[in-house]
């Protein structure tokens, strides 16, 4: 009886302590209530929607007045054709999304425009250098090609991976053409530097497609004698279109 009453008392004490609603540690102020984020799976439809946002962003950037106002006569038609290509890819992507009962996405990738897209356009406008229009074009096409290449590693359905590669291959071809327009001929195929040691644009910068951030120098020369370098990353979890 003593044992059982002691156990009962101990249990009662534990229960009393556990049931207390008053905080045991003093604190100042109110701590906000946190809301647990919803767990979202990256599905093939999400990748396709994100691809639509990237193609829309590419078309918008290459059609922006900052680019069209500065492009030379020779490059203006090429850049405009590239922008049209990106718009035409949207229809291909709509078909792929619709086949998977998804909803198409018609807007630009706001997150990435804020991260680097608008900055790049502002630099082109402020620099007023015609060469920047082709540099930006090369960067955008390299970015889109890398995006599709990256998405292959996230895509569940093999047939869709092939479609991603086909679309990415088009941007790769455009990137090669843009690189040749900047630094043409066979001398421009391999990575090289000029007499001052500055790297030249290469049509074939590597044997395998790179997924590193695309780097492009744009805009005016600043006080230190250098130009701004914009880093363009492929979409990741916080810039996918869910």
């Amino acid at each position: 009886m003593l044992r059982s009453s002691g156990a009962l008392a101990a249990t009662t004490a534990v229960l009393a302590a556990c049931s207390s609603t008053k905080p045991s540690v003093a604190r100042i102020g109110m701590s906000p209530t946190t809301v647990k984020l919803e767990d979202l799976a990256v599905t093939d439809v999400i990748l396709l929607r994100t691809a639509m946002s990237m193609e829309t962003m590419a078309a918008a950037m290459l059609s922006d007045s900052a680019v069209t106002a500065l492009a030379t006569k020779d490059s203006a038609s090429v850049i405009a054709a590239f922008a049209t290509d990106h718009t035409s890819h949207l229809q291909d992507l709509r078909v792929l999304i619709s086949a998977r009962n998804g909803e198409a996405y018609s807007e630009t990738n706001t997150k990435l425009m804020e991260a680097y897209g608008q900055n790049a356009l502002d630099l082109v406008a402020s620099g007023k250098l015609p060469a920047d229009t082709l540099a930006l074009t090369l960067a955008v096409e390299t970015l889109i090609a890398a995006t599709y290449q990256y998405f292959v590693s996230l895509t569940a359905e093999p047939a869709l991976r092939a479609d991603m590669v086909r679309l990415g291959g088009r941007s790769s071809r455009r990137a090669a053409v843009a690189a040749q327009l900047i630094n043409g001929g066979t001398a421009g195929f391999a990575p090289a530097t000029d007499a001052a040691g500055a790297p030249l644009v290469a049509t074939l910068p590597g044997a395998f497609g790179s997924l590193s951030a695309v780097q492009v120098q744009l805009g005016p020369v600043n006080d230190t004698g250098t130009r701004a370098t914009v880093l363009m990353d492929t979409p990741s979890l916080n810039s996918l279109i869910y």
Partner: protein, 177 residues
């Protein structure tokens, strides 16, 4: 309560508990079946990858013929592309390891002469190679192999467009429009 009845009751309680305990396990398996991640490797892909390896080996043989008659920047550029195809063949061979069949070394063509005269032929071969790899990506299940092939096609597309320009195509035509 008789021993038999008590035994039956305990047995039914245990069985019920086992079902309750197993329910999350089955539910877990059901959701795993719905959200199965693609495999990283699949032995069923080996035949398709062997075909890709064979194609790259034959591209190497073709470019060895092409560079023989070139000089200067043209030689450097075509040697670069040759080196790329060597790297692709080595990457595929490394991936397949002991499963790789011995690929053919027969060239796909015999491009000879100036680069401007053979560039279009080489561009066509690049396009065909990229198509072979892309079609393979559409059939293989393993993610690692698909990722490798995608990184190859990304650059072979550049090879094709650059060679089209060297052959005299306009920039817009070189894209494939």
């Amino acid at each position: 309560m008789s021993m038999t009845t008590r035994r039956r009751l305990i047995a039914s309680l245990l069985a019920g508990g086992a079902v309750v305990a197993a329910a999350p396990l089955f539910a877990g398996h059901a959701s795993a079946a719905e959200n199965t991640a693609p495999p990283h490797r699949d032995a069923a892909d080996n035949d398709a990858l062997d075909a890709c390896l064979e194609r790259e080996s034959r591209m190497v043989a073709t470019y060895r013929i092409a560079v023989a008659g070139l000089t200067g920047d043209d030689l450097a550029a075509m040697t670069l592309i040759l080196d790329h195809h060597v790297a692709y063949a080595q990457a595929l061979k490394g991936y397949l390891a002991v499963e790789a069949h011995k690929p053919s070394n027969a060239p796909l063509a015999s491009p000879a002469g100036s680069l401007s005269s053979i560039a279009r032929q080489l561009a066509t071969l690049e396009d065909q190679t990229a198509t072979i790899h892309t079609n393979a990506i559409g059939t293989i299940k393993g993610l690692d192999a698909a990722t490798l092939l995608a990184s190859i096609v990304t650059v072979e597309a550049r090879h094709a467009a650059a060679l089209e320009l060297i052959a005299g195509s306009s920039p817009i035509a070189a894209v494939g429009n």
